[in-house]
């Protein structure tokens, strides 16, 4: 590291690192190549990130949006279709809005403004943009179904989207896009795809505070810490076409989804994993359960505490398609799962079956907060002084 860089690090500013699959420019390193060790980026003023299949959307504290990576479906929102963008570029068509929440799916994107407007762009082939057709858009387009509502959150999966409304207890969560695996949660019947938002069933008497989507999975967290999942069944389990409350006494505060697993964090800083034993995403490959076609009621058996953390409290979690990342109370970043593209940041392309500490070459223990974000095969870490 250059001396001038070290000086800059001492100043009060945020720090951003990326590693993993990079052949679409998604790492923001201005290079089209994978990185097996964390690369420090000089992108300033980012307050949060959303990472998709191979693109990244960054939100600034001023409510502005930047994006980079793969743009072949218009998912970057720059008003043009490009194979990839190597550096953070402003989504200028949203300049008149203060954006407070963003989400990146496989090849589509969602943006929520402080006034509760939802915009989507990118691939619309499965109706996942929610505009009533199957068109794709390279600029964010407002989702007219919600113009009289206040959208709080959007979550973009592989080919579907979920929306959480604010102050609308009876109809809080909506789904649209591909529904083949049950990921829309709008009907117990099989739905191939819908291109307009429909209400997700089962939350009539529950207050939902967060939604997430990845792969063909969907999840929601209630205000009292219950975790609901629907869509593709986690390994050995059937698909669920309606939200199922995880049978557990644990109270969760955050849940993130991969393509075959999920992580859930409790208020006490413990982390549990659902699914897994897939590509080494999970803990112990030697104790693969014979859990074929279990009913949803027995899903607690599929929930296991992430091993090797002892009593260390966890402050953040993230999941890529087949890898997992967490942050400890000591500011350490740990990764495990599939590592072929360097997405674990451990300097090689190997898999790990339990959390291993990533070396950033920088002491994060002084950082006020460290957040982690995963795209399908890559990882970002963001620290604030």
């Amino acid at each position: 590291m250059e001396e001038s860089e070290k000086e800059k690090n001492k100043s009060e500013r945020l720090l951003l690192w990326s590693w993993g699959a990079g052949t679409d420019g998604q790492l923001g390193t201005e290079r089209l190549q994978d990185q097996q060790i964390p690369q420090q980026l000089s992108i300033s003023s980012v307050s949060s990130l959303a990472c998709g299949g191979a693109h990244v959307i960054a939100l600034t504290s001023a409510g502005k949006v930047l994006s980079w990576g793969r743009g072949s479906s218009g998912q970057l929102g720059h008003g043009e279709v490009v194979n990839n963008v190597l550096y953070p570029k402003a989504v200028t068509s949203l300049d008149n809005y203060f954006i407070t929440h963003v989400s990146a799916g496989w090849s589509h994107s969602g943006f929520v403004s402080d006034k509760g407007c939802l915009f989507t762009c990118g691939d619309g082939s499965f109706g996942q943009l929610g505009h009533g057709d199957y068109a794709s858009h390279s600029s964010p387009v407002i989702v007219s179904s919600f113009v009289d509502q206040h959208v709080a959150q959007v979550a973009c999966g592989m080919r579907h989207s979920l929306v959480l409304l604010k102050g609308s207890l009876s109809n809080q969560v909506y789904g649209f896009g591909s529904g083949k695996r049950g990921q829309l949660g709008v009907s117990k019947d099989k739905i191939k795809y819908i291109n307009l938002p429909e209400v997700v069933n089962g939350f009539e008497d529950v207050e939902i505070v967060g939604v997430s989507a990845n792969g063909d999975h969907s999840a929601a967290l209630s205000v009292d810490g219950n975790l609901y999942t629907w869509g593709r069944g986690f390994k050995g389990f059937e698909d669920s076409h309606l939200p199922q409350c995880l049978n557990s006494t644990l109270k969760f505060t955050k849940a993130t989804l991969g393509w075959n697993h999920a992580l859930a964090m409790t208020g006490e800083g413990e982390v549990y994993m659902l699914g897994g034993n897939h590509l080494g995403v999970l803990s112990d490959l030697h104790t693969v359960r014979q859990a074929k076609q279990l009913t949803v009621d027995s899903r607690e058996a599929n929930l296991e505490k992430v091993p090797g953390l002892d009593e260390t409290k966890i402050t953040d979690i993230a999941t890529g398609a087949e890898h997992s990342v967490l942050v400890t109370e000591n500011g350490e970043i740990k990764t495990w799962g599939w590592g072929e593209h360097g997405q674990l940041g451990l300097g090689d392309d190997g898999d790990r079956i339990s959390p291993v500490t990533v070396s950033l070459g920088y002491d994060l223990s002084e950082a006020a907060s460290t957040k982690v974000y995963c795209g399908s095969g890559f990882t970002f870490a963001l620290t604030k002084p």
């Binding site: 008003g79 068509s93 082939s125 794709s136 890529g320 087949e322």
Partner: protein, 83 residues
């Protein structure tokens, strides 16, 4: 080991690649050509990583007339609207 089993109707025809594709967890696409399908090949590979999927399809749907195959829904893929 095959990463997943995917029905051909869930794959998307990619004109540029001249292949049926499906998202790979690495960020690239699993790919298989019509010629491969005609030969009975059922493995779609990702050019960027070691993973592959098993494609579920009827070989008969790909035999006979070269481009018009029955049983496969027309691709919904449309051009991207540039605003």
């Amino acid at each position: 080991m095959s990463y997943d089993d995917v029905e051909i109707e869930d794959m998307e025809w990619n004109e540029e690649l001249q292949s049926y594709t499906y998202p790979c967890p690495c960020g690239d696409l699993f790919q298989i050509t019509k010629e491969d399908l005609k030969l009975g090949e059922e493995i779609a590979r990702c050019p960027s990583c070691s993973l592959y999927i098993t494609v579920i399809y009827n070989m008969e749907d790909f035999l006979g007339d070269s481009d018009q195959h029955k049983g496969i829904q027309p691709s919904k893929q449309q051009s991207v609207t540039v605003a």
